[in-house]
């Protein structure tokens, strides 16, 4: 019997430590390889960590809520059966991600008994190429000295990968951020006299990495509708003072927009889904993220189960998230689980935006500034409160027809609100 020590995995490029969320297995439990072992929380992600081997959990070394550096042993698993020597090294979730399996690469005899010592130490060229081709070098048979994975090994694996059908990605745990490599191949900055360098804050790195990944992996398409919200503006004007007095929070347009999004997601459930390689994950819950600007940068807290809340509930939930995000008091739970995103860009005065999709979600809508405009109404020209609603969507998942229908539902819903509509 051999004992496998599981370490705190690296869950993102800029992440140096992780907090144990909860143990999904207890001491004495049997665990299958790849079965979820525990939840780890970091700066921005929640991840389930799969077991690296099958066996029995013998020791839990770190309690829930404790934060430890990457690489710290967190539990021990007694490996079932004999052959302790062949126990694999602990692997992070990213290493579990399916890539080219060893058998698809030509297997040189010398590499069969590759020693473990070189594991995880790759040349810059290997790292770069592995990232570019989406290959996990740990899964590639090394043909270099001592079983080292060489540049050529990666290139060969990439060839095989292109030829083979793409494997289905793992169950949708949160994918660690480290696979995308946002700095690779960026145009070099020009630094001249007098310029200063601002080091990247961790949150900036996360934003950069996610934006690059979204724009590089999701085919964005874009639509916009004009919405006449004269009725909504009148309604809010009529109610806002009473509302504030009674409910303790301001009545903004955000909850109305969120309500409209919920209606539209119900009508077009494909918009409430996620791309999953060879399948599409239709999300059951409707959790609407709201892009919020903070001193530290953009974050997207999530209003959970937005479809189960009325205008008051949405107003309170969104206000609460905004306040806590500005105070830096959001929990990991607040930041995860979104299925669609609303960006209230009107708050910064724009009338048209091309938002970046918060992958793996399928869509993001913006609500632009509400402006008074002369509009043809029937056969006359009237002054109406107009707002543009923009939608970016993942064209792999939905086409223009569904996306258009989605926007039409939003438009219809918002235009259907009159000065006397009940908000309860």
């Amino acid at each position: 019997m051999a004992t496998e020590v599981v370490s705190m995995p690296q869950l993102g490029e800029s992440v140096t430590e992780g907090t144990i969320g909860q143990w999904l297995k207890n001491v004495g439990d049997a665990v299958e390889k790849y079965e979820s072992l525990l939840e780890v929380q970091t700066d921005k992600v929640n991840a389930e960590v799969p077991a690296p081997v099958s066996g029995k959990v013998t020791k839990i070394l770190v309690d829930p809520g404790q934060t430890v550096p990457i690489g710290t042993p967190i539990c021990e698993i007694e490996v079932e059966g004999a052959g302790g020597e062949s126990a694999e090294a602990p692997q992070t979730p990213s290493e579990e991600a399916p890539t080219v399996e060893a058998q698809s690469a030509p297997a040189p005899a010398a590499a069969a008994a590759a020693p473990q010592e070189g594991r995880g130490r790759y040349s810059p060229a290997v790292r770069r190429l592995a990232e570019e081709h989406g290959i996990d070098p740990a899964r590639v048979n090394g043909t270099g000295a001592g079983g080292r994975v060489t540049r050529n090994d990666i290139l060969q694996a990439a060839n095989h990968k292109d030829a083979a059908p793409s494997p289905a990605p793992a169950k949708t745990t949160v994918q660690p951020a480290q696979t995308a490599g946002f700095a690779v191949e960026s145009a070099p900055a020009v630094i001249e006299d007098g310029d200063t360098l601002e080091p990247l804050a961790p949150v900036r790195k996360v934003i950069a990495e996610r934006m690059v990944r979204s724009k590089q992996t999701v085919p964005h398409a874009w639509l916009m509708v004009e919405v006449d919200v004269t009725g909504l503006v009148a309604l809010r004007e009529r109610l806002k003072n009473d509302f504030k007095a009674r409910e303790g929070v301001s009545l903004t347009y955000v909850p109305f927009m969120m309500r409209a999004i919920v209606e539209a997601l119900r009508a077009v459930p494909e918009m409430n889904s996620q791309w999953n390689g060879d399948s599409i994950v239709m999300k059951k819950r409707i959790n609407v993220g709201m892009a919020a600007a903070t001193d530290r940068g953009l974050i997207v807290p999530v209003v959970k189960d937005a479809d189960q809340k009325n205008i008051v509930g949405l107003a309170k939930a969104s206000q609460d998230l905004v306040q806590r995000s500005r105070a830096g008091r959001l929990t990991m739970d607040d930041l995860s689980g979104g299925t669609f995103t609303l960006d209230n860009t009107g708050a910064v005065g724009t009338v048209l935006t091309y938002p970046v999709i918060n992958a793996p979600e399928v869509g993001i809508v913006t609500m632009e500034s509400i402006v008074k405009r002369p509009v043809v109404v029937g056969n006359t020209i009237g002054i109406r409160d107009m707002v543009n609603v923009c939608l970016s969507f993942d064209h792999r998942v939905v086409d223009g027809a569904e996306a258009g229908k989605f926007l039409q539902v939003i438009k219809k819903h918002l235009e259907g609100i009159g000065p006397d509509t009940s908000i309860y």
């Binding site: 810059p124 290997v126 270099g144 060489t150 540049r151 690779v184």
Partner: protein
């Protein structure tokens, strides 16, 4: 095209330049009557006269100092230092004066000077007749340093050095003089200073080198080809300025770089080339950059086995390149 030795290519180059430009004078120890200790300048005094091919006193500082004066005043001197090992008495003139006159005078004066010197070992020259001195001068802004590795490059680089309006050090390998032969065109041609030459294309390992080591590297590459290892050989030709683009290109191509020079390891050209690669091509590297050079001992030994141990040989290059290919 005639096949010339490395030495003949230099001599023909000198002759052609002197026929073309009457301002050129040759100047050095035994270069006239004797035609130089290696016979590089043989026949030139006879052809061009004692006023243009001058036997100088045995005083290197004076040779270079007076050549600088002549160059500033309109001549195009090509002084010879009999062995590169003897250049150090003149280093003050070269580094403090020749390299800096253009800068110091704000462009009013310049020094169109070519200093020729045989360098390198492996010919039983021992301490005072075997040294490689290029790295000392490659460190100095204001100087250019070329080291041809073939007869063709020897003639073309000489013409370019003579054409240059600023001081150029031209180091010729004495073991190459008669051992290297190659086709050399009769007409005048220039090989731009600062331009490297890809002497052999390959896939697995890049050897970056210059001087006599180019031919050694090519020999090693031929042997490795039989083992299925494909080696690229980049001949720097100029060690100052370096052809950064060519260095990075071959490094990115193979991801494995072996830098070879006969000069000793520490503070050699290899360090500079290596730094350039790691600064600008890190993400293409698949192995540590490797340098193969003479050991850091004070000078070339006289004893034949020790000299052999000191020298970089085709076999040593082959073994190092093989090791790198398998990394």
């Amino acid at each position: 095209m005639a096949e010339l030795s490395y030495l003949e290519a230099i001599r023909e180059g000198l002759r052609q330049e002197m026929e073309r430009d009457s301002r050129i004078i040759i100047y050095g120890e035994d270069v006239g009557v004797r035609g130089g200790v290696f016979r590089v300048t043989e026949g030139l005094q006879k052809q061009f006269g004692e006023d243009r091919v001058i036997d100088s006193p045995l005083a290197e500082a004076a040779i270079i100092g007076t050549a600088i004066g002549a160059a500033v005043n309109g001549l195009r001197p090509i002084p010879e230092i009999q062995f590169a090992d003897f250049i150090f008495p003149a280093i003050n003139q070269i580094v403090q004066e020749a390299a800096r006159i253009r800068y110091r005078s704000n462009g009013a004066f310049h020094v169109p000077l070519v200093i020729r010197a045989p360098f390198g070992g492996g010919v039983h020259g021992a301490l005072y007749h075997s040294q490689s001195v290029e790295a000392f001068f490659a460190h100095v802004p204001g100087l250019k340093v070329v080291v041809p590795g073939t007869p063709y490059d020897a003639k073309g680089l000489l013409a370019a050095a003579v054409q240059d309006e600023d001081p150029v050090l031209y180091f010729e390998h004495k073991a190459a003089y008669r051992s290297l032969k190659g086709e050399v065109p009769e007409e005048r041609y220039l090989i731009p200073i600062g331009q490297a030459d890809l002497k052999r294309e390959g896939q697995h390992v890049s050897i970056i080198t210059y001087g006599l080591m180019v031919s050694y590297a090519l020999k090693a590459a031929e042997e490795l080809e039989k083992e299925g290892i494909s080696v690229e050989v980049l001949d720097l030709r100029s060690v100052r300025p370096l052809d950064v683009e060519a260095i990075l290109e071959t490094s990115k191509k193979t991801g494995k770089v072996l830098i070879v020079h006969e000069d000793n390891l520490t503070g050699g050209i290899g360090g500079e080339v290596s730094a350039l690669i790691s600064e600008h091509a890190l993400f293409y590297l698949d192995a540590p950059i490797v340098r193969l050079a003479a050991p850091d001992v004070p000078a070339m030994p006289y004893s034949a086995p020790l000299e052999h141990a000191f020298m970089v040989t085709p076999e040593k290059i082959r073994d190092k390149a093989r090791e790198l290919a398998k990394f």
